[in-house]
């Protein structure tokens, strides 16, 4: 918007006045004013112009809120009264039992009272709106609470009995049932080495394949794209147990491979491949086509363009995909049951003999009767959980958009990538569009 330069020379007049209000805004007192613009200067960069009168004082900003005092009172009152009522009833009627039932009854009564209270105080639509708000908040809190609880719970069960030294240096070879301080003599080294090797092999073999497939789908295209996309979606929905018995039936039953860590890697590739392909394809799609065109216009062949321009631009997305893919396969148990088979002793050679892995140790030890083994299983679970958490957090850090353009960059943040790794979310461009 342009203004004439000589506009500033005339003194502007006041607008047609109502009674000018000296006092500041009537504030319901709701919502914190984040930022008070009271005081003299409002100007951001421009120096003050002498001819424009500045207001003496601006009122503080408010943000009106839906939830006022009376609403909070209704919520608290409903919560307390329903709690008391259910408590009384629960102890009278001994047919109900357990904390779960108590909570369910309390919650149901709480919702009813909130509805009735708000309907009386305001109106029915507001009551329904309030109850829905409570329900959705509860649902989200429930799932988030369970997740946090599980993570903390695993740690709480594992850490008290942890023998850090033994855990990482011993395997289960020396386990004797009646040993005192048995946990000092056993560890999960075999599981850690096994998982490491299997996941590493799967990643080293699977990621280039996945990236190549993604390049095919997004950069090269041509015949077969729709088919391959369908196939990749189909594969991403394949149960992990099927991946395991597939490798078993194709390679182990036929004696091409023994039970081994390598066979497990192949099964893990079946799971890793579609997830990483889908994510990398999306990441590649986001790379601006102008970059490709610029490179081609300079005379670079396509492979050079992809290698030197497209992939480096997509690097953070690809890294995120790899990190999350690893997080996904390190926790898979079912494919390993049929391929690596599990072992009590350290086997550092992934190409021959049964090999252990973290999930397998948990699987076999937790069903034993000895509490020592159960403790060991929890410790292995703790290690596994920590690995997944670290990878998850690393992926989020990596996936964060590089801050140059602020929030509105083209790269997708990690929270869009995440569901696609663990869930067979359909790709854009899948059949059906």
């Amino acid at each position: 918007m342009t203004t004439d330069s000589d506009l500033q020379s005339t003194a502007p007049t006041e607008p047609v006045p109502i009674t000018s209000r000296a006092e500041s805004v009537s504030s319901p007192g709701l919502g914190p004013g984040l930022h008070s613009a009271a005081g003299g200067s409002l100007l951001l960069e421009q120096p003050p112009r002498p001819s424009v009168p500045r207001p003496k004082r601006l009122p503080s900003p408010i943000r009106p809120s839906d939830i006022g005092g009376p609403d909070v009172v209704v919520l608290v009152a409903a919560a307390l009264s329903s709690f008391c009522l259910v408590w009384v009833v629960f102890y009278q009627l001994t047919l109900l039992s357990g904390i779960f039932g108590f909570l369910v009854c309390w919650y149901a009564l709480f919702l009813t009272l909130v509805w009735v209270g708000t309907a009386q105080l305001v109106e029915r639509q507001a009551a329904t709106d309030r109850v829905v708000a409570v329900v959705v908040v509860t649902a989200a809190a429930l799932i988030v609470g369970i997740v946090v609880f599980i993570v903390v719970w695993v740690a709480a069960k594992a850490l008290p009995t942890m023998h850090w030294g033994a855990l990482f240096t011993k395997d289960q070879k020396n386990f004797q049932v009646a040993q005192t301080d048995a946990l000092a003599h056993v560890g999960i080294l075999h599981a850690i080495v096994g998982s490491l090797e299997q996941v590493l092999l799967a990643t080293v073999l699977g990621v280039p394949l996945a990236v190549a497939t993604a390049i095919f789908l997004n950069e090269v295209g041509g015949r077969g794209v729709r088919l391959v996309r369908t196939v990749v979606t189909a594969m991403s929905g394949t149960p992990s147990v099927v991946a395991g018995i597939f490798i078993y039936s194709m390679l182990i039953l036929t004696h091409v491979l023994p039970y081994s860590g390598f066979a497990a890697s192949l099964a893990l590739i079946v799971i890793l491949l579609p997830s990483v392909t889908r994510v990398v394809e999306e990441v590649l799609r986001i790379v601006p086509s102008g970059l490709r065109e610029a490179s081609l216009a300079l005379g670079a062949p396509q492979w050079r363009t992809v290698w030197s321009v497209v992939l480096p631009t997509a690097r953070s997305g690809v890294v995120t995909a790899v990190l999350l893919g690893v997080a996904r396969i390190v926790g898979e148990t079912a494919p390993l049951l049929f391929t690596a088979f599990g072992s009590q002793v350290l086997n550092a050679n992934p190409f021959v003999h049964d090999q252990g892995a973290l999930p397998l140790v948990i699987w076999s030890d937790v069903r034993q009767a000895q509490p020592v083994l159960i403790d060991l299983a929890f410790q292995a679970a703790f290690v596994l959980m920590s690995i997944v958490l670290v990878l998850f957090v690393a992926a989020r850090i990596f996936g964060r958009t590089k801050g140059k353009k602020g929030k509105a960059t083209a790269r997708r943040p990690a929270d869009d990538v995440l569901p696609r790794m663990f869930v067979p979310v359909p790709m854009e461009g899948d059949p059906g569009r």
């Binding site: 829905v132 394949t238 149960p239 039936s249």
Partner: protein, 332 residues
């Protein structure tokens, strides 16, 4: 004076000039590159094909041997001269676990998605979304551990109550305690596991609901829930259906958590609250290694059945979700 644009003239024979046919002459490097990545793409095709092929081939003898009894009878013998094997009990168990999981998980997931897309304050949204997604990342074996050691003891009381008071529904009847390691418990943990899946798809679809219509509803005096009900949910209907189907697919195939809860049980138990019960994937997982060759073929064919089932559901769901994403049918 304005200039007149030259109109291309048709030659006396009545033909327009031929458009140039452009041929992209790839160099050798590019030829190798393009062929290479195409091969990579076809590799995935191969894998999928082989999965179906090998499972079917190796498992088919079991079907041939048992005939229709494979699907209709129950019972599994790992030893014996003429073992008859039927997966009926496991099929029913799979369906029951999936049913419980859907009943428990779908409402929580849709409500969570509504919360994340409509109610969560902006500053917290990313973190909350991450926490819900973390639920998808937790390995299923850890869910299994938690279910057995923590969830089950606390829910057994509720299961007891259900068995006493809702026993008129045949499902919930119980012949004898204990009530743990039941299909109900398995369904409960699977229900929790599918919440992040269903929630993340629903959340994405809800966030695509057109802001113009949202504003229109609010400006007419709708409460937030009325706005969601009249604009967001109708818009996201297809996505919800697709998400539920994907959740169902997941619930049908969940192996490890179910196996840890149910244990190595082959008991036929249509009563979901009662101890015992089996699902197809659990059958495969716990049976492996204990059966002779016969048992193996049965298991492989089960795997084939599982594979085909989840394939069908996932492809159908994918079609529905994508159609909803593009807003097909909602034209403005």
């Amino acid at each position: 004076m304005s200039s007149i644009v030259d109109v291309p003239r048709v030659d006396p024979a009545g033909r327009f000039p031929e458009p140039l046919r452009l041929v992209d002459d790839h160099g050798l490097g590019d030829k190798i590159f393009r062929r290479g990545v195409r091969l990579a793409g076809l590799f995935s095709l191969l894998i999928l094909f082989f999965i179906g092929l090998f499972l079917f081939l190796q498992g088919f003898p079991a079907l041939r041997r048992a005939g229709i009894h494979f699907f209709t009878s129950s019972g599994f013998q790992t030893l014996g001269a003429h073992p008859v094997y039927g997966v009926a009990a496991s099929v029913v168990g799979t369906l029951e676990v999936a049913a419980v999981a859907m009943v428990v998980g779908t409402p929580v997931a849709v409500a969570t998605a509504i919360f994340l897309s409509e109610y969560a304050p902006t500053w917290s949204r990313r973190s909350l979304i991450a926490l819900v997604d973390l639920a998808a990342a937790i390995p299923s074996i850890i869910f299994g551990l938690w279910a057995v050691f923590e969830m089950q003891p606390n829910v057994v009381g509720f299961a007891t109550w259900l068995s006493k008071h809702v026993a008129f529904v045949p499902f919930f009847r119980v012949n004898s305690p204990p009530l743990n390691a039941s299909l109900f418990m398995a369904g409960l943990i699977v229900g929790i596991m599918i919440v992040p899946i269903v929630a993340s798809i629903c959340r994405e679809v809800f966030s695509l609901a057109p802001p113009g219509e949202r504003e229109a509803a609010l400006a007419l005096g709708a409460t937030r829930w009325q706005m969601i009900r009249s604009v967001v949910i109708p818009f996201g209907r297809g996505g919800i259906v697709g998400a539920v189907m994907l959740g169902l697919g997941r619930a049908l195939e969940e192996t490890i958590a179910v196996s840890i809860v149910l244990g190595a049980s082959f008991r036929i138990s249509p009563y979901i609250l009662q101890h015992g019960g089996s699902t197809i994937s659990q059958l495969i997982a716990v049976n492996f290694g204990s059966g002779g060759k016969l048992g193996l073929q049965d298991l492989l064919f089960c795997g084939f059945v599982l594979f085909v089932m989840t394939l069908a559901i996932n492809l159908a769901a994918s079609r529905i979700v994508n159609r909803s994403r593009s807003g097909a049918g909602i034209e403005l």
